[in-house]
Symmetry: C2
Subunit: 154 residues, 2 copies
C-alpha cells in the first residue's frame, strides 16, 4: 500500500487512490500498459520523473500487487499483473474525459480494438436495462459498516 | 488548472490528472456527486481534510470549470458543472476496480440506476464490434504532434 491518506474512508475509490492516486502513478501504469515499458531507465527517460519518486512508485506497485519485479536477460523488469492491467478501464475513462474537456487540438491518442480496429471507449451502463443512466444513486453495499453509513447522513 | 506537473505530456490522462489528480480531489468530487455536498464546512467535516488543502482544491475546481461557486441562502455553495459531473465515469471505474481488488469485506457502495434500480458499472467497449476488448492498442490521434509521437518509440 502506498499511502494511508484516506484511512478513515470505507470506499473503493479511496482504496484505489491509496494505490494509484499519487503523482505519476497512473502515467507510469499508462506507459507499462500501452507503450510496453518494463525497465526503470525507460520509465525514467520517457516520463522525466525524478528517480527517487519512480523508485518509490515501482516499489509500491510491487508491494500492492500491481506489478511484479523480475530479472530479465538485460536486468530488472517490471511487468503489470492482472490487477495492474485491470486498471485500463480507469485509464480509458480518464482519457475519454480529457478528450471531451481538455483536448482543444483534438484527441492525442485513440485506443483501438486489436481484433477489428474499432475505437475503444469507457462508459457506464445499467446491468438491468442496459442503458447509459443519467441519474445514479449510491446505496449501501455489504462492505459498508452500518455506523459509517449512518454517519454519512449526519 | 491545478498543477503543471505533467506539462511535457500530450495526453488526455495527464491533462485530466492535472485537474483532478491531486490528493483529495476525486474524493471531494465524489462527495459532491453522490452525497450532494455543496458547502465548504460539509466537505471539511465529512472528509477530515485540512482547510487550506480544501480551499486550494475548491478554488482550483472553479478555475478549471469543474465547479461553480454561488451564493446560496445559507452562504457560499459549490456545485459541479457539466464538466465536473462528467467525471462520474472515472469515479465509477475506480469503484469497480477497488471493488474487485481491494474490498475483502465486500463492496462498500453499490451504484444504482434511479429509473430501474439496476446496478451501474463502468466498462470499456469497442465502438465497432460492441465487444469488451481484451487487446487494445494506443494509436496516434489528430491532437498528437508528429515529433511527440515518434519520440515515443525512440
Amino acid at each position: 500500500m502506498l499511502g494511508r491518506t484516506y484511512d478513515n474512508e470505507v470506499c473503493s475509490i479511496a482504496r484505489s487512490l491509496e494505490i494509484v492516486g499519487e503523482r505519476w502513478s497512473l502515467l507510469i501504469i499508462r506507459n507499462a500498459l500501452f507503450a510496453g515499458v518494463t525497465r526503470f531507465g525507460d520509465f525514467q527517460k520517457r516520463l522525466g520523473v525524478a528517480t527517487n519518486v519512480l523508485t518509490t512508485r515501482l516499489d509500491g506497485f510491487v508491494e500492492a500487487g500491481i506489478m511484479s519485479r523480475n530479472s530479465g536477460s538485460g536486468g530488472v523488469e517490471y511487468h503489470l499483473t492482472d490487477k495492474g492491467r485491470d486498471l485500463r478501464g480507469v485509464l480509458i475513462a480518464f482519457t475519454d474525459w480529457g478528450d471531451r474537456w481538455q483536448a482543444p487540438a483534438g484527441r492525442p491518442i485513440i485506443y483501438r480494438h486489436d481484433d477489428c480496429s474499432g475505437e475503444v471507449h469507457s462508459s457506464i451502463r445499467c446491468d438491468v436495462c442496459g442503458g447509459k443512466p443519467d441519474a445514479v444513486t449510491a446505496s449501501k453495499g455489504p462492505g459498508m459498516p452500518e455506523e459509517k453509513w449512518s454517519h454519512r447522513t449526519d
